[in-house]
């Protein structure tokens, strides 16, 4: 019985390490999706020339999961809640903490973008979107470096912690 409890403890810690490493692995992928989504939004605003709610809706339809949900939430809040766009955008980003693994810096880039979306002329929109895309790209490359460094480390730490605890309890 005691043996099986210790095995469960080791497996549990290993699993926790795996979860920690999976969020590190997931972040660059999500940042790349966001980069793509911002780029698509720029196309919708500058070339397809549609209103922002329709542009966000198109991005929500085309963006990979789970990033699509962020855009869908903004559109829903805009259409139903009659919130100022900036506020709807912020609320959607806060809500996205449940399904996106973004860092504080990543969120700040998106929140800043929300403050300028739709409030100026087309060339200015283009500049803001290009800047957000560039910053997301930088975050993505940092996240990839972090992934290489930390992914195995988290996994190994999980197992090591489990074994250490098991030895102490044994």
């Amino acid at each position: 019985m005691r043996f099986w409890l210790l095995v469960t403890l080791v497996l549990g810690c290993g699993w926790l390490g795996r979860i920690a490493s999976s969020s590190v692995r997931e972040r660059p992928r999500q940042l790349a999706s966001l980069e793509w989504a911002v780029s698509r939004l720029e196309t919708e605003i500058n070339h397809t020339m549609v209103f922002l709610p329709e542009a966000l809706e198109t991005v929500a339809e085309l963006a990979p999961a789970p990033v699509d949900r962020l855009f869908r939430d903004v559109v829903c809040m805009l259409l139903e809640g009659e919130l100022p766009l900036k506020e709807a955008w912020c609320q959607a980003i806060v809500g996205a903490r449940e399904y996106l693994v973004l860092s504080g810096d990543d969120e700040r880039i998106l929140i800043n973008l929300g403050g300028s979306l739709g409030v100026s002329h087309r060339s200015d929109q283009s500049r803001h979107l290009a800047m957000a895309r560039e910053l997301l790209r930088q975050q993505e490359s940092l996240a990839r470096r972090l992934e290489q460094q930390s992914c195995r480390l988290y996994g190994a730490l999980g197992w090591a912690l489990g074994v250490a605890l098991a030895l102490m309890l044994a």
Binding site: I45, L52, P53, P84, L85, L117, G118, V119, H121, D124
Partner: protein, 328 residues
């Protein structure tokens, strides 16, 4: 006859009330709730809605300006009106532009946006000027919403006067100060000419150059106002470019456009007329003499493009046809 007029009047009242309600989704929810409480009879006759930050909410009705209290009651006393907040102005702007200032940047630079249904909103704020030209407006805090009304039949008296014995349409200029129903009249002229009237006049191919989207109120490609089955609408085109496209591409018999102003507008109209197209247009003014004093007006007078002048006024309410003048 009286019964018929009564039914017609009630139908027009209902249509006007619908126009008022069409505007409400474009204002902030808190203002919408107040405006929805305004008595239905007033809603039906409302001409303009004025929203100004930090000042009382106001309605313009044929009797003059009335201030709207928080409970929807009307007063002539400004102090009794509901004071509009900054947040309400910000939300109203967001709703009017659908969170997309970039889509209306050209209209904004000219000081207006057009709402679905053809309602024109005059926008007030601080102009951002570049090389002497207003590029855009910031700190937008005033909205003057002109409630567009579709009044089928208002041109019934006019159309026979602007067609000759052979049924050909004569170029016509509708003249009046702002708010006297020029757009409503030329819209109905377009409708009646396009539909034709058995025994009176045939169907005409009509092209509308709708620079501000007020005549046909086109929404996602479809005119929201009845402008007739044989009418093409060039929506959002700058007037001069639109007139040229209409002549070259649409081969209209009648070309309709709103609010001529500049000498360049006049030149474009002269060109259309030289191409054999009858032009029905409107212009701000109170008399033919006052129009001729402006550069565009003098050009129009010299060219003798227009054969009929229709003067509108408010002597019996907005849209009163004061005079139809025949020019030789």
């Amino acid at each position: 006859m009286n019964l018929h007029r009564g039914i017609e009047g009630r139908q027009q009242e209902l249509a006007s009330s619908l126009s008022y309600n069409q505007v409400l989704p474009s204002v902030a929810g808190s203002l919408r709730a107040i405006l929805a409480k305004v008595p239905a009879k007033v809603q039906a006759h409302a001409l303009e809605l004025r929203i100004r930050q930090g000042r009382p909410l106001a309605l313009v009705i044929p009797e003059g300006i009335r201030f709207v209290a928080a409970g929807g009651g009307l007063s002539m006393e400004p102090k009794e009106g509901y004071l509009v907040t900054e947040e309400e102005c910000r939300l109203t702007l967001q709703l009017m532009t659908r969170s997309s200032m970039y889509m209306v940047q050209d209209q904004l630079a000219q000081g207006f946006v057009t709402l679905p249904g053809g309602h024109r909103v005059g926008i007030g704020g601080t102009a951002f000027v570049e090389q002497g030209e207003a590029k855009t407006i910031r700190d937008i805090s005033q909205f003057s919403i002109r409630i567009a009304k579709e009044l089928p039949g208002v041109a019934s008296r006019v159309v026979p006067a602007i067609t000759d014995a052979t049924g050909r349409v004569l170029s016509t200029l509708v003249v009046s100060p702002p708010g006297c129903g020029k757009t409503t009249l030329i819209r109905d002229i377009a409708r009646q000419l396009s539909w034709g009237k058995t025994g009176s006049w045939r169907c005409h191919t009509v092209a509308i150059v709708d620079e501000r989207g007020e005549i046909a109120a086109t929404w996602q490609g479809e005119p929201q106002m009845d402008v007739g089955p044989c009418t093409d609408v060039l929506d959002g085109y700058p007037k001069i470019a639109g007139i040229m496209v209409a002549i070259r591409a649409l081969t209209p018999e009648v070309l309709i456009t709103d609010e001529l102003g500049t000498a360049a507008d006049a030149q474009a109209v002269i060109q259309a007329s030289a191409a054999g197209v009858a032009v029905v247009a409107s212009i701000h003014g109170s008399s033919w003499e006052s129009i001729k004093m402006r550069p565009g007006g003098s050009l129009l007078a010299e060219s003798q493009v227009f054969r009929r002048l229709i003067f509108l006024g408010k002597s019996r309410g907005p849209g009163t046809i004061e005079k139809i003048q025949v020019l030789s």
